[in-house]
């Protein structure tokens, strides 16, 4: 459904791209006060220990040390660091500093000094008396562990029932069943069963976590942070430090990538406390090692699947049991877990029964948290791999099996109603679903039929292909809310303020495009400012693929309101009825009369009937229309060493209208490569004592440009009626498919299936040895 858009779905450079490439001071550390105290965090060398005593007396004597925070001098209020709506579905299981440290790298004290050098010296002088305890480093041994309880402390709690049983090392648990899976499996002609281990993954965004705080002339605390959720940060600081919300301001400057890794607290509590106590600006910049080892990772999981089908290829039943490792603290524990089911299983909506459940356990690993895909990539790896296994057992073409069983437009799945974000979900019909087209088109673009399953291309070289389908969501119905204010300037330009958080995905640009389209103007007449809890209206933040759909809809609503308002204003100016006024973005015309927007805007500010023309509108989702994708990957393997490279990766995505086609493609491709990293080269590795070894770019290998083959990324012609100009989300879906695609391609090449990520040449080698 191609609409005749003038700005939306047209090539539009991002509003900040040029300035950022030209090196403007715009990121959090760039705009930090030059005289800010430097805050450094002392971190635990033990995976699990009780902090018996901390002596900071020697450290305090060091000249230049202004403040040291420990558990002895900070508020003892449990909270969750997760940036989520209130009440959060994550347990409040974190104290600013606690009696326990729960992973190597956990915070023990914060030192604020006039220079980094002095802060580091002071850290050496802090004496900590640890009672080292036995850690749990194997998530399969965590639940009901006889020796170790990772969260024995009082005061921690869930905000509503999420299966939080800390004495059993459970952060969350969940069960759901539609129909009767055991019955349906009994009736199945063919059953496949398998277990997959997806690994933790590091976000590895280029900009390290940074924040700084200062007191303004109203003595209000102003906090700048690389955060995806400024409003949640404000609320959580308010509740934890006992400061009224109105005394706090949180601002998000330009952010160098988040991917979920900045959707939770890093240094914000510490700089806030330091500034409040010293009255001086304070800054905390994480080192790359801290980003790897003391922020968050993806939740590693074990996913066990049983799938039953009739011999004609209809899938009867899916049973999915999942164990998820949330690490030391429970941020995003339940919600990531649930999405393994809720944003993967509905793909196969024709089943008679489906069951999903399991536990999320604590371990003494780095805390796991939000990460693009948010459970869907882990689930996709398992489900899309086992579907290939099923196809083989049925003697069916794997693409045909998917086509027969997957979601189509106007269909639904009972899972939507049952599974939400920690609570019940929302029923919805797929008003836009071009998955069948995506599969068909992708197959063509890949020339699948020529290449499947494997072809010899040289002495020791073969090429094979693998495929996977995926879905995601667009915001969280009823929980995610965004709002937008539009103010008319003299000269007919619009000042747009939104809470929506641009972390590099381009929401500022996309929102400006939506406003420009609706108001019939051009991008240069739209100015945008975002993510400032003082100056912009509320937005839940950048997560759950919500900025285009939720924040974009809010902007669309505001623009519609503004249009309506302007027409009323013009009508008054021309002394006609509003319904007799036509507006083309520049001029209001009614019969022979007309007035330009330019003149109207100047008149309203300076001349007569003077008032500021401004509107504010909000939006929260009633549904979460999923984007869909079909992915096809071609890889070349060495048949002796099993080294491989990506030749081509084809995706066809249905994200409704692409508001910004180039940026949408950029999102998809960035996601693919990030997912490919998790599938192939990235590995989070600990030593036997729980210390993270993969904590630099030397030891943790994200894809470089040399690892990426030809990417062919197309979009289906689709229109989502509930989305702004027909758009759905596109931020996460790109990441979901590479693990299954690669796993399937390896199987097609060698007949072995690698059940854990990353799928390294070495693992293929081991699997081949085992096969012999």
């Amino acid at each position: 459904m191609k609409k005749n858009f003038k700005v939306v779905n047209n090539l539009t450079p991002s509003v900040d791209g040029k300035g950022l490439m030209q090196g403007r001071s715009a990121y959090t550390d760039d705009i930090a006060p030059a005289n800010a105290l430097i805050v450094k965090l002392l971190r635990s060398p033990h995976a699990f220990a009780k902090v018996k005593n901390i002596d900071i007396s020697e450290a305090l004597k060091l000249p230049g040390v202004e403040c040291i925070l420990t558990k002895d001098n900070v508020p003892h209020v449990p909270f969750t660091r997760a940036g989520q709506g209130y009440p959060e579905p994550s347990p409040h299981d974190k104290y600013i500093f606690d009696d326990y440290v729960r992973y190597v790298g956990d915070e023990v004290a914060a030192v604020a000094a006039v220079s980094e050098e002095i802060a580091l010296e002071a850290m050496k002088l802090i004496k900590v008396d640890y009672e080292v305890l036995e850690p749990i480093l194997d998530f399969e041994k965590a639940a009901d562990n006889k020796t170790t309880i990772i969260h024995p402390e009082d005061g921690i709690h869930e905000m509503f029932p999420i299966g939080f049983e800390p004495k059993r090392n459970l952060a969350a648990a969940y069960e759901m069943e539609v129909g009767n899976v055991e019955e349906e499996l009994k009736k199945s002609d063919v059953i496949v069963e398998d277990t997959f281990y997806s690994q933790a993954q590091a976000h590895a965004m280029l900009e390290p976590h940074t924040c700084h705080a200062h007191l303004d002339e109203h003595n209000r605390l102003v906090l700048y942070s690389t955060t995806q959720t400024p409003f949640h940060v404000r609320r959580i600081i308010s509740k934890t430090l006992g400061i009224p919300v109105e005394k706090l301001r949180v601002v998000k400057p330009r952010v160098g990538g988040g991917f979920g890794g900045k959707q939770a607290f890093h240094g914000e509590m510490f700089v806030s406390l330091v500034t409040l106590r010293t009255k001086k600006p304070a800054k905390c910049v994480f080192t790359r090692e801290e980003v790897f080892g003391s922020t968050y990772t993806r939740h590693p999981m074990r996913i066990h699947l049983r799938v039953g089908a009739t011999k004609d290829g209809m899938i009867n039943a899916i049973d999915c049991r999942t164990l998820s490792d949330t690490g030391a603290y429970g941020e995003h524990a339940l919600t990531v877990f649930m999405i393994v089911g809720s944003k993967v299983l509905p793909l196969y909506n024709k089943v008679k029964a489906v069951k999903f459940g399991g536990q999320v356990v604590y371990t003494n690993h780095v805390s796991a948290g939000a990460y693009r895909g948010y459970g869907a990539i882990q689930g996709n790896y398992a489900v899309e791999s086992i579907i290939d296994e099923l196809a083989e057992k049925l003697g069916m073409d794997p693409i045909k099996l998917r086509e027969m069983n997957s979601m189509k437009e106007k269909e639904t799945s009972p899972i939507f109603e049952i599974m939400g974000e920690g609570t019940e979900g929302t029923a919805m019909i797929m008003e836009s679903c071009k998955l069948p087209y995506c599969i068909k088109r992708g197959r063509e673009l890949m020339e699948w039929d020529k290449k499947y399953p494997v072809k010899k291309v040289g002495d020791h070289k073969v090429r094979s292909v693998g495929c996977a389908i995926a879905m995601q969501g667009s915001g969280i119905p009823f929980l995610d809310m965004g709002s937008c204010t539009i103010k008319l300037n003299d000269g007919g330009s619009y000042m747009v303020t939104v809470g929506a958080t641009d972390i590099g995905q381009g929401s500022d640009t996309v929102i400006s495009q939506i406003v420009a389209e609706e108001l019939g103007t051009t991008m240069d007449k739209v100015i945008i400012y975002s993510s400032d809890t003082d100056l912009t209206p509320y937005d839940c933040g950048a997560y759950a693929s919500s900025t285009t759909y939720i924040s974009g809809n809010a902007a669309y609503n505001a623009a519609c309101k503004m249009r309506e308002r302007l027409i009323k204003e013009a009508a008054a100016e021309l002394q006609v009825k509003p319904q007799d006024v036509e507006f083309d973005g520049k001029t209001f015309v009614s019969g022979e009369k007309s007035v330009t927007l330019d003149d109207l805007s100047v008149g309203r500010l300076y001349n007569n009937d003077t008032h500021q023309i401004a509107v504010t509108e909000s939006y929260h989702g009633q549904v979460s229309p999923p984007p869909f994708m079909a992915a096809f990957g071609e890889f070349e393997f060495d048949t002796e060493t099993y080294e491989y490279k990506m030749i081509k990766y084809v995706t066809v995505t249905d994200c409704g209208t692409t508001i910004n086609p180039a940026l949408a493609k950029g999102q998809v491709e960035g996601g693919i490569v990030q997912g490919y990293g998790m599938a192939s080269s990235e590995a989070v590795i600990y030593n036997s004592k729980g210390k993270l070894l993969s904590n630099t770019f030397d030891t943790y290998h994200i894809p470089t440009c040399k690892e990426v083959g030809e990417l062919v990324s197309e979009f289906a012609d689709s229109y989502e009626p509930s989305g702004p100009f027909g758009a759905k989300s596109v931020g996460e879906i790109g990441i979901d498919t590479p693990p299954a695609v690669l796993c399937n391609a390896v199987y097609n090449a060698f007949g072995v299936r690698v059940h854990s990520l990353p799928i390294t040449p070495e693992k293929i080698f081991e699997a081949m040895k085992a096969k012999k």
Partner: protein
């Protein structure tokens, strides 16, 4: 110690510590375009051009650039703006954190090898990590900017 060098066409003199790195000296003196992505010689976000050669400024001591010419993106504003246009055509203008360094690399590449093959572009840019774009759009943008031969 005092270190004198030429920064973006201007002779400058900074009082630095012997073990201080060029990245820190530049950022402390207002040059914020140079980014500290990893401080471990691995990510490329700190690239500056010294005597026409791109170097990792997190790994070069300020003392080592005594008497040399140092260039950051502040001195190639128009070129950066033009490169950005190509980036935006391919959706490569995302978080922007790696972009200023990329602009300098592209500038240096153009001087060293004005008509690179696709492989030569990739080999030149390999040390500039990007987590947002997946590189594909970037590589196409650079190829087009340089007038592209296969």
């Amino acid at each position: 110690m005092l270190v004198k060098f030429n920064l973006n066409g201007l002779d400058v003199e900074f009082n630095v510590k012997p073990g201080e790195y060029l990245l820190d000296t530049l950022r402390a003196n207002g040059v914020k375009s140079v980014k500290k992505g990893c401080d471990g010689s691995s990510c490329g976000a700190c690239i500056v051009v010294v005597d026409d050669k791109p170097v990792l400024s997190c790994s070069v001591l300020t003392a080592q650039v005594e008497g040399h010419r140092v260039m950051t993106v502040e001195s190639i504003q128009e070129e950066a703006a033009e490169i950005s246009e190509y980036y935006s055509r391919h959706g490569a203008d995302q978080c922007g954190y790696c972009n200023a360094a990329a602009a300098l690399m592209i500038h240096a590449l153009k001087k060293e090898n004005p008509n690179p093959t696709d492989e030569e572009i990739a080999d030149y840019m390999v040390g500039n990590l990007c987590r947002c774009t997946g590189y594909h759009g970037q590589q196409l943008a650079i190829k087009e900017y340089l007038g592209g031969k296969k």
